[in-house]
């Protein structure tokens, strides 16, 4: 089966990749671009460990074909910090002890960043809803929800 030549932006950098039809965005990021921060937890759109932003929206990268991302702007966990300065959601999740094994963390951070981008003052329910597709088995979620609340406050203070 033929390969598709695609070009896209990943974490601000121009990339061009040859991908077979059945390759998911997750596979492309991990296996072709060596961006292994995004994780494979189920490959079925259930656990959220593979969450990235495509054109500003949070999406399960295991449920997107790489070929569908022609021209897209993709952001992964590796693209959250800017010039070595952590994104407020990254700093907050550390501050609140919301990281244990760290495997769900990249997906959580992307979902949180996407939430704050579209809704800078989310309610507790807004945060729960935004993260309901990110499964965590270690933390029990409370510290992660509190971290997002703190990040929202911090952002508001900075603006």
């Amino acid at each position: 089966m033929a390969l598709h030549h695609i070009t896209l932006t990943v974490n601000g950098e121009f990339e061009q990749v040859d991908v077979p039809s059945q390759m998911t965005l997750l596979q492309m990021l991990r296996d072709k671009l060596a961006l292994t921060g995004t994780k494979n937890g189920c490959n079925a759109g259930e656990c959220g460990a593979c969450t990235v932003m495509v054109d500003g929206e949070a999406v399960n990268s295991c449920m997107v074909l790489a070929v569908e991302c022609q021209g897209a702007n993709v952001v992964t966990v590796e693209g959250l910090a800017k010039d070595g300065v952590l994104d407020p959601v990254q700093q907050a999740i550390i501050n609140h002890g919301g990281v244990q094994c760290g495997f769900c963390t990249p997906g959580m951070l992307i979902s949180a960043r996407a939430l704050l981008n579209r809704n800078p003052e989310p309610s507790e329910d807004d945060i729960r809803a935004a993260l309901v597709g990110n499964l965590c088995r270690c933390t029990g979620y409370v510290r992660i929800i509190e971290a997002v609340q703190e990040a929202a406050k911090r952002q508001k203070a900075l603006n």
Binding site: A44, I94, G102, L109, Y141, I145, E146
Partner: protein, 796 residues
């Protein structure tokens, strides 16, 4: 035995604790994880030579293998190796060697590995697996442990009598019973007549799975000399090295296990499971590394699961509420191989009184082979399953004599000096304090109105205890090396699976050495070639056992430094100290930084030479006092190293219209001896509470005739952000452990143990109905309410 005073520097009061012990320092791996730089097993890069494996698995729960034809698979372009059990006669197992790497003559569960393929891509390996033809002769299956324990059941392991087994496990050859643990304490039969109230209940606890967010991954390479390198998702690199070496008949020194960050374990990445498959396949690929990944579906039924349990409880108390007798019969559904699960049978047996002082106890705990997925260690190691029923019976007994359940527990809860169910003397414990604090925090006794007319509100409480379940000589070791700039590298064999063990290792080294925490690094990833030995990362044992080894290694390094400086300054060691990375003399008030002296030593005066050299501290810890137990009575001087005790309380609301149970808030209080890092201890308490809550409300592996009906996240549900209460309170109680580092003992598992029972007791408080065994799904609760007449089923 290490005494607390030995960890103190001189001239300091014995009760003061050096920083950063007790400080909630930020975890050392947090930044790496939040920027996506932390490398997990599937993230490692092996270059274009990497091959990919897939496994041919049995579709039958029990069958003889008549014929395997791999010729079509071998002929597929891109396939580099196809292996079957014929090539691997060795057996593996932690406590009982009952498992081949690949099945040889029969399969014993759906998913049992029959053959393995290595190919240039995972897709080709998958195609090749489908081309392997296997002819089976299905056999009658065993799907219930009580049935499996009878003589009518087909015998799943006819060679049980020939398996190597550790001397504290008691299999019954010729049966499906791979361990029978007994407790005979006092005289239970005589005690019933003294009881004012007796409660008898049975519980069928379903299988569940650990559900780490990271599925198992293993990459194995076997070079031309037969030396094995294994990278993988591992809680136990040294146990894996050992078991794989034994199974292959090679030296442990010819197996190197490298364990990067682990995305959750909860026990399923302890011992050996799928890793042996990768090694076996790699042994035929001429030195090329082979990666094997489990799909999430395979994770649910071919990785370790938590065994099911059928538990029969009978307990009685006198009119004053004193527990007089307990009689327990536990049938553990151990699954197809019980090499690890046999110890769960034992651990539940020696803890079968629950955290109570009971003079008469009779327990029979059976590990039974079934044609179900393989039961292995899961957080709590039998304690959640057991306490689920036991703590509900305690509540029932309290209510039978019209005593408040908290008061009942207060009267009976185990205290220091008590003679335990095995005859061991209990050490000091803060269980009463945990009980009082948890009850207070949940406002026990105060009824609050439900939030709506169609809801009922209730509170429930449950106590727990657990000892680290391990070999009596499970040990730890550690190294502390100093670098040119004064920084310290700590090497351990204990894996950080999210609980924070690397961080507290750094804290302990910093405290025992006398350097700032920022100067300390932990050498990662674990590598059995370079890391010091650690039995396994299980049993909530690292803080205590590995901690002792780290503290000892740091003290050893400290001693070397002080000896050097004492010689150079012509002073007495007792007058010297290391504070904030500087060696200081209390006598002469001289001071010198650790920078530079830790490697290069110190020069003698007048250019007469040098003294010192690289400082390398070493330490180890192994409990020396665990004794055997009598095979007939389970009695012995010291069954376990110690117990961590605790209590959880919850408040729930039940929706009368749907049966849905909502946990409104939770409280946990646990005696950790000494919280090395209080925030991380609390994080364990919260995480365990939510995992326990998830098993209480949602989780069961639905097995039908050995076939798993819900092998995916679609129908195996776990708690999400929408299910957790924000109000989860974690209370730290500290009654020091005599041989713990700064008095510490573990708590990683304990917060998942009483949760199901606490919720069940709360549901009873809310609606007056015992809903039985978990999960307490909305459906189960609703239909129980209908059947009990609490709500009306609609007519017509």
């Amino acid at each position: 035995m290490i005494r607390m005073e030995e960890t103190m520097t001189p001239n300091q009061p014995a009760t003061s604790v050096p920083h950063p012990i007790g400080d909630s320092v930020t975890r050392v791996d947090a930044k790496e994880k939040v920027i996506g730089a932390a490398l997990f097993s599937d993230d490692l890069q092996f270059g274009p030579g990497l091959l990919y494996a897939r496994i041919k698995r049995s579709p039958h729960p029990h069958a003889l293998i008549k014929r395997i034809d791999t010729s079509k698979a071998q002929a597929l372009p891109g396939v580099k190796a196809v292996v079957t059990g014929e090539s691997f006669p060795g057996m593996t197992g932690l406590y009982l060697q009952d498992r081949h790497i690949f099945c040889r003559d029969r399969v014993r569960y759906v998913g049992d590995p029959v053959a393995g393929v290595a190919a240039v891509s995972e897709a080709i390996a998958e195609q090749a697996v489908e081309l392997i033809e296997v002819e089976y002769e299905p056999l009658q299956g065993v799907f219930d442990p009580e049935f499996g324990a009878t003589s009518e059941a087909p015998v799943l392991h006819p060679d049980l009598g020939k398996y190597k087994v550790q001397n504290f496990i008691f299999p019954k050859p010729g049966t499906n019973i791979s361990n029978h643990f007994r407790i005979r304490k006092g005289d239970v039969d005589a005690a019933w007549s003294q009881c004012a109230a007796i409660v008898e209940h049975s519980y069928r606890i379903p299988h569940i799975q650990h559900v780490p967010i990271e599925p198992h991954v293993a990459v194995a390479k076997v070079d031309e000399n037969g030396k094995v390198t294994l990278w993988g998702t591992s809680q136990s690199p040294f146990a894996q090295r050992n078991l794989i070496a034994i199974a292959l008949g090679i030296s442990q020194s010819d197996v190197e296990v490298i364990a990067p960050y682990v995305g959750g374990g909860f026990g399923c990445k302890a011992g050996v499971s799928m890793e042996a498959l990768a090694v076996a396949v790699a042994s035929k690929t001429k030195g090329k590394p082979v990666k094997l990944r489990l799909t999430r579906e395979e994770e649910f039924y071919t990785a370790f699961v938590r065994q099911g349990m059928v538990a029969h409880f009978k307990m009685g108390c006198d009119a004053q509420g004193r527990l007089l007798a307990m009689q327990n019969r536990f049938y553990w559904d151990g699954g197809a191989y019980t090499e690890y699960g046999v110890n769960i049978t034992r651990a539940s047996g020696y803890s079968s009184s629950g955290p109570y002082d009971v003079p008469n106890v009779k327990t029979d705990s059976f590990c039974v082979y079934t044609n179900h997925p393989v039961g292995g260690p899961m957080r709590g190691f039998g304690m959640p399953e057991m306490h689920t029923g036991l703590e509900q019976c305690i509540d029932e007994l309290a209510l039978a004599i019209e005593m408040d359940p908290v008061q009942f527990r207060r009267i009976n809860c185990v205290q220091g000096g008590d003679t335990l169910v095995t005859g061991m003397t209990m050490h000091p414990t803060g269980l009463s304090e945990c009980l009082d604090k948890a009850a207070k925090a949940i406002d026990w006794g105060r009824k609050v109105a439900p939030s709506a007319p169609n809801k009922r509100r209730g509170k429930g409480i449950a106590a727990m205890w657990k000892a680290p379940a391990m070999s009596p000589n499970a040990s730890s070791s550690a190294k502390v090396a100093l670098n040119e700039d004064g920084t310290v590298t700590v090497s351990v064999g204990g894996q950080d699976i999210g609980q924070g063990s690397f961080t507290i290792a750094a804290q302990m080294a910093a405290a025992a050495l006398g350097v700032p925490i920022d100067w300390v690094r932990v050498a990662t990833p674990l590598d059995t070639n370079y890391s010091p030995y650690e039995w396994q990362t299980v049993a909530s044992r690292l803080t205590w056992s590995m901690g002792n080894a780290v503290a000892a290694a740091a003290r050893d390094a400290r001693q070397q430094i002080l000896e050097l400086v004492a010689k150079a300054w012509n002073e007495k060691i007792e007058d010297l100290d290391i504070v904030d990375g500087n060696v200081i003399s209390y006598k002469s008030e001289e001071t010198i930084s650790l920078k530079n002296i830790a490697i290069y030593g110190l020069p003698l005066p007048n250019d007469q030479g040098w003294i010192g050299g690289p400082v390398l501290g070493r330490g180890n810890f192994m409990p020396t006092y665990v004794t055997g137990l009598n095979a007939e009575t389970g009695q012995g001087p010291r069954a376990v190293v110690h117990y961590t005790t605790g209590v959880q309380a919850v408040e729930v609301e039940v929706d009368l219209d749907t049966g849905k149970v909502q946990v409104l808030r939770g409280v946990g209080a646990f005696d950790v001896g000494k919280a090395i890092n209080p925030e991380m201890v609390k994080a364990q308490m919260e995480g365990g509470f939510v995992q326990g809550m998830s098993t209480a409300l949602f989780e069961s592996l639905q097995l039908k005739e050995g076939v798993l009906q819900n092998p995916s996240f679609v129908d195996y549900r776990i708690a999400t952000t929408s299910d957790v209460p924000m109000d989860i309170q974690s209370i730290i109680v500290e009654v020091p452990q005599d041989d713990g580092p700064w008095g510490a003992r573990g708590v990683g598992e304990h917060s998942m143990v009483p949760t199901v029972a606490a919720i069940a007791n709360a549901i009873y408080d809310a609606i007056g109905i015992r809903v039985g065994a978990p999960p307490y799904s909305a459906e189960k609760v609703y239909l129980a309410m209908v059947d009990a007449g609490l709500v009306k089923e609609m007519e017509g």
